[in-house]
């Protein structure tokens, strides 16, 4: 996947594009480091251009959720579509994350 982050007004915006797979663990580690080194209280993932996510990707989002919870920060998943949206639904992600369309 490709990713970019922007931190502004206490929110870290993370845009993910393409395919989110096991190969992206270094990128997720970077996002978690950024969160650990900031005072942000909210992390928003823009998933409008995420085409695919595998079980490793689901796990990494959950790791981010744990890291955010430790800092009392919220994680929002924005705009998931297609296969990504279906996999979130079948894994009950709406009970674990705020999901916005």
């Amino acid at each position: 996947m490709e990713y970019e982050t922007l931190e502004k007004n206490g929110i870290i915006h993370v845009t993910l594009r393409g395919r989110i797979t096991y190969a992206d663990h270094p990128s997720f580690r970077n996002v978690m480091s950024q969160l650990a080194n900031s005072s942000a209280t909210r992390l928003e993932f823009d998933l409008a251009n995420a085409e695919f996510i595998d079980s490793a990707g689901l796990g990494m989002l959950l790791l981010v959720r744990d890291a955010a919870a430790q800092r009392k920060a919220t994680v929002v998943l924005k705009g998931p579509k297609g296969q990504v949206q279906r996999i979130f639904a079948s894994n009950r992600f709406e009970s674990l994350f705020a999901i916005q369309q």
């Binding site: 395919r19 797979t21 096991y22 190969a23 663990h25 580690r29 978690m32 695919f52 595998d54 079980s55 490793a56 689901l58 796990g59 990494m60 959950l62 790791l63 744990d66 890291a67 297609g82 296969q83 996999i87 079948s90 894994n91 009950r92 009970s95 674990l96």
Partner: protein, 239 residues
């Protein structure tokens, strides 16, 4: 050769080596297009994503990666060729870097006129099965929980270390598809030690960070069967 079962087209492989492999396998060597209606088997070295997509287009029936000195002809090649399906054999190193499920699923979908959504479901199931074959099958990574960032980082560091072991890295991932009017079957086979699958997965923890692959496969596929001591998974999808 009237007894040849396929026509082999090799690229980037020493000609004598290719000819020897063809003879051992009972294939005819060709320079270009399929010969006498025989199924076309490509033998390629250095496969990147674009090359894989091109290689899997018709009239290809099978694509074999020439790696670690071997063509990687697995037990599934003969049956898949006879069934008019599609076959792919990669070393673990190449499969790990490529993520072949996307190209393979697209190639099957084009041949079977699958809807986009159905193709995506097949792709994800195939991807999960391939990851299991690579990591837990061929690389023999134990299914350790990766519930913290440290554990996840350590896991992938260990994967990289196992990939540096050429004995394991050379092991093959064999992906085979065949289809009928009613269903599409896709199988993945590894060359690891195998394992026993429980009949039903344990009740899934919704916050589990790892170990979700098989649950996802069972959700996406109409049927799942294991064979060869757990080294082979066959997933069926309704058409």
């Amino acid at each position: 050769m009237s007894t040849a079962t396929a026509a082999l087209l090799a690229e980037g492989v020493p000609p004598m080596v290719a000819a020897g492999l063809a003879e051992d396998a009972g294939f005819a060597m060709v320079g270009e297009a399929p010969k006498d209606g025989l199924p076309l088997v490509l033998l390629l070295s250095e496969i990147d994503p674009d090359r894989l997509t091109r290689a899997l287009r018709p009239p290809t029936a099978a694509c074999l990666e020439f790696a670690f000195g071997k063509a990687g002809i697995g037990p599934g090649l003969g049956p898949t060729l006879r069934a008019g399906g599609l076959y792919l054999s990669l070393s673990t190193t190449t499969a790990y870097g490529l993520g072949p499920a996307h190209a393979f699923a697209a190639a099957v979908a084009a041949r079977t006129d699958m809807s986009h959504a159905a193709c995506q479901g097949l792709e994800l199931a195939l991807h999960e099965a391939t990851v299991n074959a690579m990591l837990h099958g061929n690389l023999e990574m134990p299914p350790s929980p990766r519930e913290t960032i440290e554990a996840m980082t350590e896991f992938y560091r260990s994967v990289e270390a196992h990939l540096a072991d050429s004995r394991r890295a050379a092991r093959r991932v064999e992906i085979a598809a065949r289809w009928s009017r009613a269903a599409i079957e896709v199988s993945v086979r590894d060359e690891g030690r195998g394992f026993i699958h429980t009949a039903q997965p344990a009740a899934a923890d919704p916050t589990a960070k790892s170990g979700r692959g098989l649950t996802l496969i069972r959700h996406l596929a109409a049927g799942v069967e294991f064979s060869d001591g757990g080294r082979r998974i066959a997933m069926s999808f309704a058409r």
